[in-house]
C-alpha cells in the first residue's frame, strides 16, 4: 500500500501562532508559497495561514473593474492597512479548522480527502499531531501517474 510518507515533502517551514504577520509575509515571499502551516512551541500542527487571510483584511474593497485613480487610492489604503496589522499575531489571521493527514495514511485515502477539500496543500502530521511536512495536489497526480504506469506494465505482462 502506498503511504503518504512516500510522496510527501518533508519540509518544516512553519510559523507560530504568536509570530507577527510581517514575518509570515517575508517568509512566504522567500519560499514562494502562499500558505504556511501554523504550529505551537512543541511543533504541534494548529492550522494554516493563507495569503488570502491577510489580503482580505487589508483591501477595503476587492480589486475589480476599477478606474486607475480608484486603484491607486485603494493600493495606498491597502498599504496603510497592512502597516497597521503587520505587527499583529498570526493567531488573529489563521484558519484553525484545517484537515491534516497522517504520514502512515494510504495515498488512496489522501486522494479522496484532497479532492473533497479546497486546500491546495494538506499538511502531514505524525501520530502525536506534530508537523512532518505537506502533500500537494501535484504529489497526488504524480502518484496517480505511477499507478497508471504500473497498470500499463501489468497489462503488458
Amino acid at each position: 500500500m502506498s503511504k503518504v510518507k512516500n510522496y510527501m515533502m518533508r519540509s518544516l517551514n512553519s510559523v507560530c501562532q504568536h509570530d507577527e504577520v510581517e514575518g509570515v509575509i517575508r517568509l512566504m515571499h522567500k519560499i514562494e508559497r502562499s500558505v504556511l502551516p501554523v504550529v505551537d512551541d512543541e511543533n504541534t500542527f494548529l492550522g494554516t495561514i493563507y495569503i488570502q487571510n491577510i489580503l482580505k483584511n487589508i483591501i477595503p474593497e476587492r480589486y475589480g473593474f476599477l478606474d486607475i485613480n480608484k486603484f491607486i487610492y485603494e493600493r495606498n489604503q491597502a498599504a496603510e492597512n497592512l502597516n497597521n496589522i503587520k505587527g499583529k499575531k498570526v493567531k488573529d489571521y489563521m484558519s484553525k479548522k484545517v484537515i491534516s493527514v497522517k504520514e502512515d495514511e494510504s495515498m488512496d485515502d489522501m486522494a479522496s480527502i484532497i479532492i473533497k477539500n479546497k486546500e491546495s496543500y494538506l499538511y502531514v502530521v505524525n501520530k502525536e499531531d506534530k508537523l512532518r511536512g505537506y502533500i500537494s495536489r501535484a504529489d497526488l497526480l504524480y502518484y496517480l501517474l505511477e499507478v497508471g504506469e504500473e497498470g500499463d506494465e501489468s497489462r503488458r505482462d
Binding site: R10, L12, R132
Partner: protein, 315 residues
C-alpha cells in the same frame, strides 16, 4: 527523530575533467562529469543516517537566497526533513575540479555567506521547536558570517534546558566557548589549523593532552582523529580505535560517516561509548576504502567490524 544542525551549508559542485589546466576552456558533455550535491557536515551525516535506515532524520539550519530553495530540494530528495531559515543572502557554492591525469584535486571553498541578527533570532525560535522530538542532537560544522562564536554554546544550553544531549563536531573559538555548556560528546576537527584549544597538535602526547583538556573544560566524552586512527576519551580512560589491514582510497566523508554511525549505534542500542566508536570506526573505514563519500547501508559496516580494534592507551 534524529536532528542534525548545519548553520553553514553549501552546494557542492564537482567537475571531473581529463586534465585540469589553467587558461584552458574545457567542455563537459558527459552527465557524469558534473555532480551537484548538498554539502555541509550535518547534511552529509543526515544523508548517511537515512541510508542506514533511520526513517525520521531532520536537518536544521540556514539556507540562503534563491539557491536556498534548490538546496532544500536536493536535501528533500534524500528523504530528509528540512527545517531551514531562509536568509536574504545567497548561500555558498563549493567548487571542486577533479583532474584524471595527472590526478589533481582543486577546491575553491566559498566562505562568503553571512546571516543577519533577525535570521539568527528566527533560527533560535525554530531550533527550540525543532528539537522537541529528538533526544540526542548533532551540531557540526562551521558557522556563517554574522553569527557570534558563542552560537553553539547557546544551542547546547537550549538542548540542556530541554533535557537533550549534544554531540558536537566543531573547531576553534566556537568549540572553545561551547565547552562551557558541557556537551556530552565532543569531536574537534582541526585539519585546517592543526590546533585544538588553541594549541598545535603533532605528537601522540599532544593529542592525549588535547583529549584530556577537552574533558577538563567540560566535554563528557571526546573523540580525536589521530593519523588513521581515533583516540577516544572518557573520564577514566583513553583508548585507541584502529583498523587493521585496510587500503585507504580517500578520507573525504570519513568524518561524517563516523559521526553518523556513532549516532546510529546510540539510537539503536543506547549509549555505549566504546561500542559506538567501534561501529563508527568501521563506518569510516567503509568510506576510506571506497571512492564514494557516503555510506550505503549497515551491511558494509558489519563486514568491516572485525577489522576494528579498541585498546586501552597507557599513559
Amino acid at each position: 527523530m534524529i536532528t542534525t544542525v548545519t548553520l553553514n551549508p553549501a552546494i557542492d559542485r564537482e567537475y571531473f575533467v581529463k586534465e585540469n589546466k589553467p587558461n584552458l576552456h574545457q567542455y563537459i558533455y558527459d552527465d557524469e562529469g558534473v555532480k551537484v550535491s548538498p554539502g555541509g557536515k550535518g547534511v552529509l551525516s543526515a544523508i548517511n543516517l537515512k541510508n542506514l535506515g533511520h526513517e525520521d532524520v531532520q536537518n536544521i539550519g540556514f539556507v540562503g537566497g534563491k539557491q536556498g530553495l534548490f538546496f532544500e530540494r536536493l536535501v528533500q530528495d534524500c528523504d530528509i526533513t528540512t527545517n531551514y531559515i531562509f536568509t536574504e543572502n545567497e548561500m555558498r557554492n563549493n567548487i571542486f575540479i577533479i583532474g584524471e591525469s595527472p590526478a589533481t584535486y582543486t577546491h575553491y571553498n566559498d566562505y562568503t555567506y553571512s546571516v543577519s541578527d533577525k535570521d539568527i533570532n528566527n533560527f533560535i525560535k525554530r531550533f527550540k521547536r525543532g528539537i522537541v522530538d529528538s533526544e540526542f542532537i548533532m551540531i557540526s560544522g562551521a558557522i556563517p558570517g554574522g553569527v557570534s562564536f558563542d552560537i553553539y554554546k547557546e544551542l547546547i544550553s537550549i538542548c540542556h534546558e530541554n533535557n537533550k544531549e549534544v554531540y558536537l563536531h566543531a573547531s576553534g573559538e566556537v568549540l572553545n566557548l561551547a565547552l562551557e555548556e558541557q556537551p556530552k560528546v565532543v569531536v574537534p576537527y582541526f585539519k585546517h589549523t592543526n590546533k585544538i584549544l588553541d594549541k598545535e597538535v603533532a605528537t601522540i602526547e599532544d593529542y592525549i593532552w588535547a583529549g584530556k583538556k577537552l574533558l577538563e573544560e567540560g566535554a563528557q566524552y571526546a573523540i580525536l582523529p589521530y593519523e588513521c586512527n581515533h583516540l577516544i576519551f572518557d573520564k577514566d580512560e583513553t583508548y585507541k580505535v584502529s583498523s587493521k589491514d585496510f587500503c585507504m582510497v580517500n578520507w573525504l566523508g570519513a568524518g561524517e560517516a563516523y559521526n553518523a554511525a556513532f549516532f546510529d549505534y546510540v539510537e539503536r542500542k543506547g549509549f555505549d561509548f566504546i561500542e559506538a566508536n567501534r561501529w563508527a570506526a568501521a563506518a569510516a573505514l567503509v568510506v576510506a576504502e571506497e571512492k564514494e563519500i557516503l555510506l550505503k547501508n549497515k551491511g558494509e559496516i558489519e563486514e568491516r567490524l572485525e577489522l576494528i580494534e579498541v585498546e586501552r592507551v597507557s599513559i
